[in-house]
């Protein structure tokens, strides 16, 4: 009984953490789907989102939902600017060049933020009363409810955009085959820019929610979640939206179980071990189809 209780409790913690990974992983997977770039800077976009949310709450005294919206909009624009300045000139360069540029952008965001907001961690103010819900013997606290609720709303919204709107159709076409999409009259530059915008906005939401959940943000907070979200995206099958969500949640749960039952120092190692196992045994991911490589 003791064991089941702890297990389910870790499961709840894992799903909350996992939905944040899922929000970041969605951006990774969308960007990778279209321009085949591991956007190393994505984790730092998430960090910037967390800081904007922090300043909206502390300086402008907004409540959590408007702060979240402001952070998503501003960070979305930042993502589009980064794409325009750093990645667009390299559209036809070798992929390794773009990857190195992404590492450069990541450093740039980390350390310019560090310069402006100082390297010391900031305490994210409590934005909601400390309520907790008892479901039988399990406890879900208010922050976890908020995370799950907001993640759910954003995912419904994203599914609507991708499946039901014209721009979503263009995004799906461009990620299927960019050149053919262009021949059909789709402005691929605009589609890529909007993809970066949406992906960055989702990461920003993840950042604000992490701030609310852990109460602490710092300029290097994006590195690890960024890498783990990439693991989540690969786990679910890169380029596949439901895959990213599933991958994020699975990763979050595994991490929670590892740190709950073994040792929290092995948490990060578990994520990377999953990555390597997936890459070796099912590189297309859980939801992916095997494609044959053509010369």
């Amino acid at each position: 009984m003791e064991f089941t209780q702890q297990f389910v409790q870790q499961l709840i913690n894992g799903i909350s953490l996992g939905s944040i990974y899922a929000l970041i992983a969605l951006g990774y997977t969308m960007i990778y789907g279209i321009i085949k770039l591991i956007n190393f800077a994505h984790g730092d976009i998430y960090m910037v989102g967390a800081y904007i949310g922090f300043f909206a709450v502390t300086q402008a005294h907004l409540s959590i939902v408007p702060a979240l919206l402001i952070s998503m909009v501003v960070t979305g624009i930042l993502g589009m600017v980064v794409e325009k300045l750093a990645y667009k000139p390299l559209r036809h360069a070798p992929r390794i060049s773009v990857l190195i540029t992404a590492i450069g952008v990541s450093f740039f965001l980390e350390y310019t933020s560090m310069y402006f907001v100082s390297p010391t961690p900031r305490t994210f103010p409590a934005v909601m009363d400390n309520v907790s819900f008892h479901l039988g013997m399990f406890v879900i606290n208010g922050q976890q409810m908020l995370i799950l609720g907001i993640t759910f709303v954003l995912m419904v919204l994203l599914t609507y955009i991708v499946q039901r709107t014209k721009i979503g159709k263009a995004m799906r076409a461009a990620s299927f085959d960019t050149e053919t999409a262009q021949l059909m009259g789709i402005d691929s530059d605009r589609v890529i820019s909007i993809t970066f915008g949406i992906g960055s906005a989702l990461a920003a939401a993840g950042g604000v929610l992490v701030g609310v959940y852990y109460n602490s943000i710092d300029p290097l907070m994006g590195i690890m979640p960024g890498l783990k979200a990439f693991v989540a995206a690969v786990l679910g099958g890169i380029g596949i939206l439901p895959g990213a969500v599933a991958g994020g949640v699975i990763l979050g749960v595994i991490e929670a179980l590892v740190s709950g039952f073994f040792s929290s120092t092995f948490r990060d190692a578990a994520a990377f071990a999953i990555l390597i196992l997936v890459l070796l045994f099912k590189p297309s991911g859980l939801f992916g189809k095997n494609t044959r490589e053509k010369v």
């Binding site: 770039l37 000139p89 060049s97 990857l99 190195i100 450069g104 980390e110 890498l227 990555l275």
Partner: protein
């Protein structure tokens, strides 16, 4: 004696002259202790960047886990010297061999991956190595390994560096090295030409990892303590910056890259944020305007000035 041998001897002589000059400056106390330490770091970074260049530049396999192999070499060497009182050279060689063996074990499965997948997998493996070391109490865990004898000096670093440069230069110019370059240029075409691509990729990976291990051994004996946090993937990125700045596929470039990056880091040590912002901008603008790095595929011996001394090969 063929012209290539002569060429090697000429470079060796040049190396010894450089060593004599620097050692003279150190003995005459013209180079102060701060820059003396930086000379050691430059030497170690040259070994790291040249060995990483063998993997990333010559063989075209993008690895981001080099600091992990450095950590393995460092810890093996310090355990041997501190706990078993082994001679320094034996410890360095053992560290290198263990790192190379680990590189072989890791390389065999992961080098099937391509491009950015390989990059992220090696990054993950480097982190796993570090986390595992952090959890071994025998080597001090997260607090680090203390009480390491201070063996590393300029002579050691310089001559180990010369050996590294020689081995890697000759490897690259051998038929094995040509096979590696062929894999970089086009893996499928190389395979069609009968090159066993897996074998050469793993070979280059293991050799690179081995030298990283040796560099780790040297690094560990510079200070009295080592700590797993010196070997994070940020350190791997640092070596990557050196290689990319100098040119993927140029040994001279890696040396220059190690020099410039170490020098700039030392000079900007009091402004760490600016240092990283400058790194970032250098990386971005390099990819825009000179993606092949400062030297590209060129070696210093390819320039006109050196052709005059080389003779023979026309």
């Amino acid at each position: 004696m063929n012209s290539i041998r002569k060429h090697d001897l000429l470079l060796l002589a040049l190396g010894i002259v450089v060593f004599a000059v620097l050692q003279g400056l150190i003995s005459a106390r013209i180079i102060g202790s701060f820059w003396q330490l930086n000379l050691l770091i430059i030497g170690i970074n040259v070994i790291m960047s040249v060995s990483l260049n063998l993997i990333n530049g010559y063989t075209g396999q993008f690895s981001l886990g080099h600091a992990g192999f450095m950590a393995v070499g460092a810890y093996v060497a310090v355990v041997l010297t501190t706990n078993f009182h082994a001679p320094f050279i034996a410890a360095l060689v053992a560290g290198g061999l263990v790192a190379a063996f680990l590189g072989f074990l890791i390389g065999l499965p992961t080098l099937r991956l391509r491009g950015d997948y390989l990059a992220i997998a090696t990054l993950g493996l480097g982190e796993i190595i570090r986390i595992v070391i952090m959890n071994i109490d025998y080597v001090g865990g997260a607090a680090g390994f203390k009480g390491i004898p201070h063996y590393t000096n300029f002579t050691w670093v310089f001559f180990v560096m010369l050996v590294t440069l020689f081995v890697i230069k000759n490897f690259v110019n051998s038929s094995h090295g040509r096979a590696c370059i062929a894999i970089r240029e086009n893996e499928i075409a190389a395979e069609a030409m009968g090159i066993n691509t897996t074998r050469y990729k793993v070979m280059a990976f293991a050799i690179g990892a081995g030298f990283a291990g040796v560099a780790g051994g040297l690094f560990a004996h510079c200070f009295y303590i080592i700590n797993p946090s010196s070997f994070t993937f940020m350190a791997s990125f640092n070596y990557l910056i050196m290689v990319v700045l100098g040119g993927l596929g140029s040994i001279t470039g890696s040396i220059a890259g190690a020099f410039v990056v170490t020098f700039v880091s030392a000079a900007l040590a009091s402004w760490p944020e600016f240092r990283m912002i400058i790194y970032a901008l250098v990386l971005i603008f390099l990819m825009f305007y000179r993606p092949q790095g400062l030297f590209g595929y060129m070696e210093i011996t390819d320039f006109k000035l050196f052709q005059r001394f080389k003779g023979g090969r026309k």
